[in-house]
């Protein structure tokens, strides 16, 4: 009699295609990391912060368009053409952007170090560079939604409520690429700053506190240099809080003084554009260097 045995382990050699492309690894890392940071497949408590910050970012646009919708065009015509100019919008949502960078971005990176799953990732064919690129995308793309979509929403709403939509688009055509550039710049710089700080620790809370402290300390130093020592607006370049926002505002167009008179983004009190470009470039380079240093293949 035969001694044949049947092993139903439902396992068979994989005969499908294994694509070793870095793009697929980066895409997968970005998708899964973004899902985790945004609370997907996790309890509702994990979704509160990212969803709340997104709502805050859309708040001013929803309010403006809501007023226009409720009061009708006759009343809104008496208001300034743009109740909230695009350049000023960043000022209103700066808290949401900074809070996102401080709270949500570390969530994409710190847990990997804390749970040591990073070792598992790097034991696949994925390189540390691909890992970091994946994390940058995972952080920047959702942040891009916060920095860009509310302004796009406001722009479209303004067109919709305008008496002369085509005329509005014609008058504000230059602002479309400026909004996109500003949104990308802000998302990229704050993402890199958030990730660079997060790369220094395995604890998300430490990363959040470190990021906030960095903003507060540089803001204080910038304030002291400008006000106490009267060194002029360029001394605020040491302030890391609003560097990309200031540059984005310069690109979109200066905020009217009547609106931005007392805020930190006053048009007459921001550093020179060329120096802002330089300082943003330096921030990007330093952050990339920190990430490269922290995520180099140390031993091979």
């Amino acid at each position: 009699m035969s001694e044949a045995r049947i092993h139903d382990v439902r396992y068979r050699p994989y005969e499908g295609e294994i694509k070793g492309s870095p793009r697929r690894a980066v895409g997968s890392m970005a998708r899964w990391s973004a899902m985790r940071a945004l609370g997907a497949r996790r309890p509702w408590t994990a979704k509160v912060v990212p969803v709340g910050l997104a709502l805050i970012a859309f708040g001013p646009a929803i309010t403006v368009l809501g007023v226009k919708a409720l009061l009708g065009t006759q009343i809104t015509q008496q208001l300034p053409g743009d109740i909230i100019p695009f350049a000023t919008y960043y000022q209103l949502i700066a808290f949401a952007i900074l809070a996102y960078a401080a709270i949500v971005i570390p969530e994409t990176m710190c847990p990997d170090r804390r749970s040591r799953v990073l070792d598992l990732y790097l034991s696949t064919a994925m390189s540390p560079r691909e890992y970091v690129v994946g994390k940058v995308l995972a952080s920047a793309v959702p942040l891009l939604a916060v920095t860009t979509l509310p302004l796009v929403f406001l722009y479209v709403g303004n067109v919709f409520f305008s008496d002369d939509p085509f005329g509005y688009v014609g008058d504000h055509l230059r602002e479309i690429p400026a909004i996109l550039f500003g949104g990308i710049l802000i998302a990229l710089v704050y993402t890199l700053m958030g990730l660079a700080v997060a790369s220094l620790t395995s604890r998300r809370a430490f990363a959040t506190v470190g990021f906030v402290l960095m903003l507060i300390v540089t803001g204080l130093i910038g304030g002291v240099l400008r006000d106490a020592l009267n060194l002029g607006p360029n001394s605020r370049l040491v302030n890391l809080q609003f560097q990309p926002v200031w540059l984005a505002q310069k690109v979109i167009g200066e905020a009217p003084a009547s609106i931005a008179q007392d805020g930190p983004l006053q048009r007459f009190d921001t550093p020179d554009t060329s120096l802002l470009i330089l300082s943003n470039a330096i921030i990007i380079v330093v952050c990339v260097a920190v990430l490269a240093l922290r995520y180099r293949r140390s031993d091979a």
Binding site: H7, V9, R10, Y11, R12, P13, Y14, G16, E17, I18, K19, G20, S21, R24, A25, S28, M29, W32, R36, R41, R42, P111, D112, S115, R116, V117, D119, L120, Y121, L122, S123, T124, A125, M126, S127, R297, D299, A300
Partner: protein
């Protein structure tokens, strides 16, 4: 064409400051399941990481599946599954999500990753728990998740670093059974490290023993058992009739002196044959014992 050997290590050296982790290691590994045995700090994990191309050698070279780790580290890692010794699983993910994620990182499409995750979790006995978050798993279940993720892309070789570490006896026994099945039933070559001799004996066909960064023993386990089962028979009367009887029965038997003989046996049947032949020839046995060190003694000596 003959497939390339799983692993060929040639003169591998690696130091961390004054500590020599690998000291001129030369070894060829090609059995279905090979055990890397040694005390903690013997160099097992360093050798495994060097095999994966994650540790740069100071000298020497390693070929894995026919490719040089210095130049083809990523290609090699694509064909290898690896389960580290330490805790490395994100507690907030479900087992299915983690295995899926790692399958995608290893190049599988999303659809295939979902299917393969289900298959390998079933194969390691975690089908029912695949939708639970890993944070709620026992240590034994987490070790199985590590094994599942190492298998998900159907690698040619899996490397398991101390897979029974911290497990209770029942979990350990189940884990060893799963590992044995991987090499025997699933046809995946396995390299497993352990500092527990019994783990290696139960799962492997071949053993490489390391001590202080060097290989002190490299032998097949099954063959070793055959070789060491040599008996020494001390008799009351001259042993010549017993020797003649055993030779006539087909055993290899030689005289050491007038009342002592060395007998090579293959199994317990041969052992019974020695007893029966002694009775039949009327040669009283004073003592019958293994001649030379047993496999355990040999391995323990190599471990140091």
């Amino acid at each position: 064409m003959t497939p390339a050997p799983a692993i060929v290590v040639q003169g591998a050296r690696r130091s961390y400051g004054s500590v020599v982790a690998l000291d001129d290691v030369t070894v060829r590994i090609d059995a279905p399941a090979t055990g890397l045995l040694g005390r903690n700090g013997a160099g097992k994990s360093t050798l495994m990481k060097a095999i994966l191309g994650l540790v740069r050698l100071d000298a020497g070279e390693i070929e894995v599946l026919g490719q040089d780790t210095r130049t083809a580290g990523d290609r090699i890692r694509r064909r290898i599954g690896y389960a580290p010794e330490h805790e490395c699983l994100p507690p907030e993910l479900t087992a299915a999500d983690l295995v899926r994620h790692l399958a995608e990182l290893r190049g599988l499409s999303r659809t295939d990753a979902i299917r393969r995750a289900s298959e390998v979790l079933f194969a390691v006995g975690l089908e029912e728990e695949r939708s639970r978050v890993i944070g709620s798993f026992s240590l034994g279940m987490r070790q199985r998740v590590k094994l599942a993720q190492a298998l998900v892309h159907a690698p040619d070789l899996i490397i398991l670093d101390e897979p029974t570490n911290g497990l209770d006896p029942i979990q350990r026994s189940e884990m060893l059974e799963v590992i044995r099945r991987v090499s025997q039933d699933l046809g995946v070559r396995v390299l497993i490290s352990s500092h527990i001799l019994d783990d290696i004996r139960r799962t492997c066909d071949h053993v490489v023993v390391m001590r202080q960064g060097s290989v002190t023993l490299n032998r097949p386990l099954a063959a070793a058992a055959g070789e060491t089962d040599v008996l020494r028979a001390e008799t009351v009367a001259p042993a010549a009739p017993l020797i003649s009887g055993l030779v006539a029965a087909g055993l290899t038997c030689t005289a050491i002196d007038e009342r002592t003989a060395r007998i090579a046996i293959r199994d317990d049947g041969d052992r019974d044959l020695v007893r029966d032949t002694a009775a039949a020839t009327g040669v009283g046995l004073r003592r019958l014992h293994p001649d030379g060190p047993s496999i355990e003694e040999e391995l323990l000596e190599a471990i140091g």
